[in-house]
């Protein structure tokens, strides 16, 4: 009962992105929970004590709390979660902020599956070392 697949949280207001992520993650043997907004994700983490994702794939641009806001909150909560940012936009300064905040990767769409998988493996590796 205790061997575990990596658990990845995906936070993106675009449902088609979430669906594509779920398909990919399943195909490489990872479990996933998706969330449509940063606040829903944070509320879930705070409210559900046994929900321990290994990493989170965070969309940068979202209505309400954006990816960087979520990262800031996770840092304030001393969360050990590894973060991978994904974005369609090239926002100046965002990449630096994200990486300075400790993100594992900052991926600009479109990116290949391989790039994402590499980032995920690194994120999970980092998580298990913390």
């Amino acid at each position: 009962m205790n061997q575990s697949k990596p658990l990845v949280a995906v936070v993106d207001d675009d449902a088609s992105v979430c669906r594509a992520m779920v398909r990919l993650l399943k195909s490489i043997g990872m479990d996933t929970h998706t969330f449509a907004s940063g606040s829903e994700f944070l509320a879930f983490i705070a409210g559900m004590p046994s929900f321990h994702p290994d990493c989170v794939v965070l969309d940068l641009q979202m209505p309400g709390l954006n990816g960087l806001d979520v990262q800031e909150q996770l840092t304030r909560d001393h969360s050990p979660l590894s973060i991978i940012f994904i974005t369609a936009y090239d926002e100046s300064g965002a990449r630096e902020r994200a990486l300075e905040g400790g993100a594992v990767a900052f991926l600009r769409k479109p990116f290949s599956d391989e790039v994402l998988i590499e980032a995920l493996n690194e994120a999970i590796q980092r998580r298990s070392e913390s």
Binding site: M1, N2, Q3, S4, K5, L7, C18, V22, K26, D31, T32, H33, T34, F35, A36, E40, A43, F44, G47, M48, P49, S50, F51
Partner: protein, 213 residues
């Protein structure tokens, strides 16, 4: 506490996967808890009503037939809001977040970590015991209030609003002396000794806490 005592804390486990159900039953029993396993939400509902003691549910979000979320909703509607711990293979936004908004205590991904489940059950049972005690208190207080005459009820309503006896007498078109008599009877019937206690008690009955589970 003997297992058939009406107030034995009970864990209701619902999972359609035989091996998961067996493994979790063993785990929960090993922690010294009484556990009743079911293969479906329907089976659980058909075997009710269950004993009145503190209880919590451990159930898979994805069940065939009546889903975990549907059961959560039905139990709330039936005023049997057991705290619920959801376990899941993998989830998505509507399921997980809905369960949380419906008042789930925890959401444990499979494969379930022993310590996560046992800790959550402990938290759920504490909550269940507290909610059971509060529900019992409200029932008792309601019983006391039911013994008030209509006039006493009227006086009580005005007393807890902070009106002086003189003002109450004016409102009700009666004498201050009569109001004092009613007031004393109210205090006695509601088994309180101060205005503050009376207010506390009437607050509980007026808006009994509806705790989602």
């Amino acid at each position: 506490m003997p297992l058939d005592h009406p107030n034995t804390p009970t864990v209701f486990l619902i999972d359609d996967d035989d091996s998961v159900r067996k493994a979790l039953t063993r785990l929960i029993k090993s922690a010294g808890l009484r556990v009743l396993p079911f293969a479906s939400a329907r089976e659980f509902l058909d075997n009710g009503p269950h004993n009145g003691g503190p209880a919590c549910l451990v159930l898979d979000v994805r069940l065939p037939g009546l889903s975990g979320l549907d059961l959560q909703r039905e139990l709330r509607a039936a005023k049997a809001p057991y705290p619920i711990i959801f376990i899941t293979g993998f989830g998505d936004v509507p399921t997980s977040v809905k369960a949380m908004k419906g008042g789930a205590v925890d959401f444990i991904p499979k494969p379930v970590r022993d310590e996560d489940l046992l800790r959550s059950i402990e938290q759920a049972m504490t909550r269940a015991a507290r909610e059971t005690a509060e529900r019992d208190e409200i029932e008792t207080l309601q019983g006391l209030a039911d013994r008030l005459t209509p006039r006493e009820r009227e006086v009580m309503g005005l007393v807890v609003r902070g009106l002086l006896n003189k003002q109450i007498a004016f409102e009700l078109g009666t004498s201050e002396k009569t109001v004092k008599v009613h007031r004393a009877r109210v205090m006695k019937k509601m088994q309180v000794e101060s205005l503050a206690e009376l207010v506390r008690v009437t607050d509980k009955i007026a808006s009994p806490a509806i705790r989602p589970s």
